[in-house]
């Protein structure tokens, strides 16, 4: 028969542990929804920047849904974007949101090269729970499939209309 003190101690420990577990629990559905929304909003922004070219018929933009699967999120559908300039294409393919040091990544492939768009925390001083509230897209170097061996930390440039135009020209070889 366990002593009263022992029972109390175990119960108290269990209650405290449940609180800690609840605080640390990740709402994976919210993570997935936020990620899908961030990609949709980014593509809205990009097609907005390109609107004059699309309306003049110089550029075609096609959005579609692709299947992704991540261990923590399971399978899900997310938007992809394809830009077509004459016979040349540039694709924006979401890779995932459960990553090292980033909240999301889109691999960009054009006729002359590749890049990665990374969704990063813009306020390093934000406490861990609030880091998802301060996010922005950055242009990074492509991350090779297979072995990842950067010689130096990749240079990350905030994604703005100007930096996007630079990326667009670089990857289309304009």
């Amino acid at each position: 028969m366990p002593s009263r003190n022992f029972e109390d101690r175990v119960k108290q420990f269990a209650e405290e542990q449940e609180k800690v577990d609840a605080e640390n629990a990740v709402d994976w559905k919210a993570v997935k929804d936020d990620w899908i929304k961030a990609v949709r909003e980014l593509f809205d922004q990009i097609t907005g920047w390109l609107k004059p070219l699309i309306e003049s018929g110089s550029l075609r933009a096609a959005r579609s849904h692709i299947s992704c699967e991540e261990q923590d999120l399971g399978p899900y559908k997310i938007e992809a974007l394809e830009l077509q300039l004459a016979s040349k294409k540039m694709t924006f393919k979401p890779v995932g949101t459960v990553l090292i040091g980033a909240w999301g990544r889109i691999d960009v492939t054009g006729p002359t090269g590749k890049a990665a768009l990374l969704l990063l925390n813009t306020d390093k001083s934000a406490p861990p729970k609030e880091r998802r509230l301060h996010l922005g897209w950055f242009i990074g170097r492509p991350i090779a499939a297979g072995v990842v061996l950067p010689r130096t930390r990749p240079e990350l440039k905030p994604l703005t209309e100007d930096s996007f135009e630079g990326l667009f020209e670089d990857l289309f070889g304009i």
Partner: protein, 207 residues
């Protein structure tokens, strides 16, 4: 250091070292996976090798590649330790007047210095093969078994040369044919075969 004395270094010592290093790699991989999606700080070691935005699969691929490099290092150490044993044994054995000792003495005479005696082709291992071929064995299969154990060691040497010379040519067979425990088995079989062959003619045992 761990492996300073080639005369007491056994293949299983190298396999055990490999397993300790591989376990360390697994710890680092677990730590990297634990940091996925948390935006936590990676250790400074991992920050140097894992890109921001790396996925679970890319992390696994990186650590798989690290393990393969570790396997290659273990293979190099295994073959190098066998080479040391063969050369040390030969330097003593060439003073003997038996057939094997005489063959080794001729090899020494043809080389400008002891370390320049070839190891395999027309060298120490070929001298052993010639000696095994000359032993009067009642069962033919026994000779074939001894020679096969020596021949399997030659397969390891192809990989050893490729690694030791900086891998500047394309290797025909993949390194995956020789994980450390398999390579250690090949080296152990070589030692056993040479000891058995020496014993058949009453020669001093292989070192």
């Amino acid at each position: 250091m761990l492996f300073d004395d080639p005369t007491s270094l056994e293949p299983e010592d190298i396999v055990h070292w490999f397993e300790v290093c591989a376990a360390g790699l697994e710890c680092e991989e677990r730590e990297a996976h634990r940091q996925l999606g948390t935006q936590g700080q990676l250790s400074s070691t991992l920050t140097e090798v894992l890109s921001v935005g790396a996925t679970r699969e890319e992390i696994s691929d990186y650590f798989k590649a690290c393990r393969r490099e570790l396997e290659i290092s273990a293979l190099l150490m295994l073959t190098a330790s066998a080479e040391a044993r063969l050369r040390l044994d030969a330097s003593i054995r060439m003073q003997n007047q038996d057939a094997l000792g005489k063959r080794l003495k001729v090899l020494r005479g043809n080389a400008r210095s002891e370390w320049m005696i070839p190891l395999y082709e027309d060298g120490i291992v070929d001298a052993w093969k010639a000696y095994i071929g000359s032993i009067n064995l009642p069962v033919r299969a026994d000779r074939a078994r001894l020679l096969a154990s020596v021949g399997r060691f030659k397969n390891l040497l192809g990989v050893r040369h490729w690694v030791a010379h900086g891998r500047y040519w394309r290797i025909q067979r993949g390194i995956e044919h020789f994980p450390p425990d398999v390579a250690a088995g090949v080296v152990e079989d070589l030692y056993i075969a040479l000891r058995a062959a020496a014993g058949l003619e009453g020669l001093p045992s292989f070192a």
